[in-house]
């Protein structure tokens, strides 16, 4: 029936957002389903156009069966569009969420951590969107950058400025504010200024203890 595929698309999409903690990996872009829905919608469009063309104004106002048929097709096409956009919107939300969670930047796209590759889950258009969003945010951040980093975490208010951290994975040698160089090796503990290592915490190299 018209709209079955679209329903399938949105229910799957909805389900994937229900369990928010822990965050699930973004499902793979449902390209085959989307192509089928677009096809169905174009067919509905063609059918509506040809029906309207083959019947004159007169029969359109008198032939109730025809009017009903066209209405159903019209609504089905509109509904398909709505479902497609709901799906895209939902994913845009998820993509942005991951961008922010990663402390901004695109590095996480290629992350070699245990999470499946985000890049392969995205459509080419979504990758474009993500790059575009990244550029927008880089511009937006610039005004503040002399004083603060907008993409640093806001999940918890700051406490003391010194923080005890443990390296969760090797981060290599990092130059901190003030020029201090530290070689972060997995398992080692440090007491450092929070502002200097905030980014490494967000990115998952360090963990507060």
């Amino acid at each position: 029936m018209y709209g079955d595929l679209a329903l399938q698309l949105v229910t799957a999409s909805h389900r994937s957002t229900l369990s928010t903690t822990p965050q699930l990996p973004l499902p793979k872009y449902a390209l085959p389903l989307i192509l089928s829905i677009c096809l169905e919608t174009r067919q509905l469009g063609t059918s509506i156009t040809s029906a309207a063309e083959s019947h004159g104004q007169v029969s359109l106002s008198q032939d109730h069966a025809l009017v009903c048929g066209l209405t159903v097709q019209h609504l089905a096409a509109r509904r398909n569009k709505r479902c497609l956009l709901a799906y895209l919107h939902n994913r845009v939300t998820g993509i942005k969420e991951r961008w922010w969670d990663a402390g901004g930047g695109l590095a996480y796209l290629n992350s070699d951590s245990d999470a499946p590759d985000l890049r392969s889950a995205l459509s080419p258009q979504e990758l474009d969107f993500l790059r575009g969003y990244n550029n927008l945010m880089l511009d937006y951040k610039t005004d503040f950058l002399d004083v603060l980093d907008l993409t640093a975490s806001i999940e918890r208010p700051p406490g003391e400025i010194m923080v005890d951290v443990r390296a969760v994975r090797d981060a290599g040698e990092v130059v901190l504010e003030g020029g201090e160089r530290i070689d972060f090796r997995k398992g080692e503990r440090f007491r450092l200024a929070r502002s200097g290592v905030e980014r490494l915490i967000v990115q998952g190299f360090l963990e507060e203890v």
């Binding site: 677009c38 469009g45 509109r78 956009l85 927008l136 007491r191």
Partner: protein, 284 residues
């Protein structure tokens, strides 16, 4: 002074004292500092607690204790607001932004002023930190200064990002509604514009371009009244605290609700918007 540097790690775990504390523990003497003030009997304390609508003016016996003053503070609200510090004002703006669904005015002056001060302070901190003549006391002050700086930076960050969240959520609505533009900073308005374009390009390239032409618009309204242009819902309830008397409002039921000073309400945003915008009520 030196003890701070010697035992930085042992701060976190302060052993809890047993309840059967001896009466002459140093704590008792500190709370006894209040004996120099007019003593507050339990009765007067409670009667002040109960005075809700119109607390008696001039009861201000405990200048020593900032916390707990709030019940007396109300009478001096007007004066108080004038001298309220920028950090506290931003705290309120943040709370208001977080507690409402729609776009509120950008607190540009406040943010700019705090950003300037943060920048100056950062320079000072950098200079003093690298100066070998900086005394131990100054170093200690620097720690406190930086602690506060981190707090203010966090507040600005959270405030700005809360707005960004709303701006992205309602970007197209903002673009289509010129009356909202004055509420945004230049950077925010430009972000709304560019974000809308980015999103629409994404939708077009992903699916809309593959649909019949009459289905490619971005501002449809569906049969159930839902528009593609997402708008804030003015009927969502907000929690407000009246810092002054705001008169009465008429609820949808036709009943009146008095927004008395010091009262708290959960009410549709639409009904109290003017008070929120004028700052007569705080949003929780």
């Amino acid at each position: 002074m030196s003890s701070f540097f010697q035992e930085p790690d042992s701060d976190d775990e302060i052993p809890q004292l047993p309840p059967e504390l001896p009466p002459l523990h140093p704590v008792a003497s500190s709370s006894r500092a209040s004996s120099s003030r007019p003593s507050i009997t339990q009765d007067s304390f409670l009667s002040r607690l109960e005075a809700t609508a119109s607390p008696r003016p001039g009861i201000r016996t405990d200048h020593e204790d900032g916390i707990g003053e709030e019940m007396e503070e109300e009478e001096e609200e007007d004066e108080y607001e004038l001298e309220e510090g920028e950090v506290r004002r931003l705290g309120k703006a943040w709370s208001r932004e977080r507690g409402t669904g729609g776009i509120l005015a950008w607190e540009g002056e406040l943010v700019d002023s705090l950003m300037d001060k943060l920048e100056q302070q950062q320079k000072l901190v950098d200079t003093l930190k690298s100066d070998p003549d900086t005394s131990e006391e100054e170093h200690f002050k620097l720690v406190l200064v930086q602690t506060e700086m981190e707090r203010v930076k966090y507040l600005i960050r959270s405030y700005v990002r809360c707005r960004l969240h709303k701006i992205e959520k309602y970007s197209y609505h903002i673009i289509l509604t010129p009356s909202l533009h004055s509420l945004l900073s230049g950077a925010e308005l430009s972000h709304a514009q560019r974000y809308t374009e980015l999103l629409h390009t994404h939708y077009s390239h992903s699916v809309l371009d593959s649909l019949p032409e009459w289905l490619r618009k971005m501002d449809d309204t569906y049969g159930d009244g839902l528009s593609m242009v997402t708008k804030p819902n003015p009927n969502l309830p907000v929690l407000i605290y009246c810092t002054r008397d705001c008169g009465e409002i008429t609820l949808d039921s036709g009943e009146q609700a008095a927004l008395a000073k010091g009262s708290t309400h959960l009410v549709k945003y639409r009904l109290v918007e003017t008070f929120v915008l004028s700052g007569q009520v705080e949003v929780l």
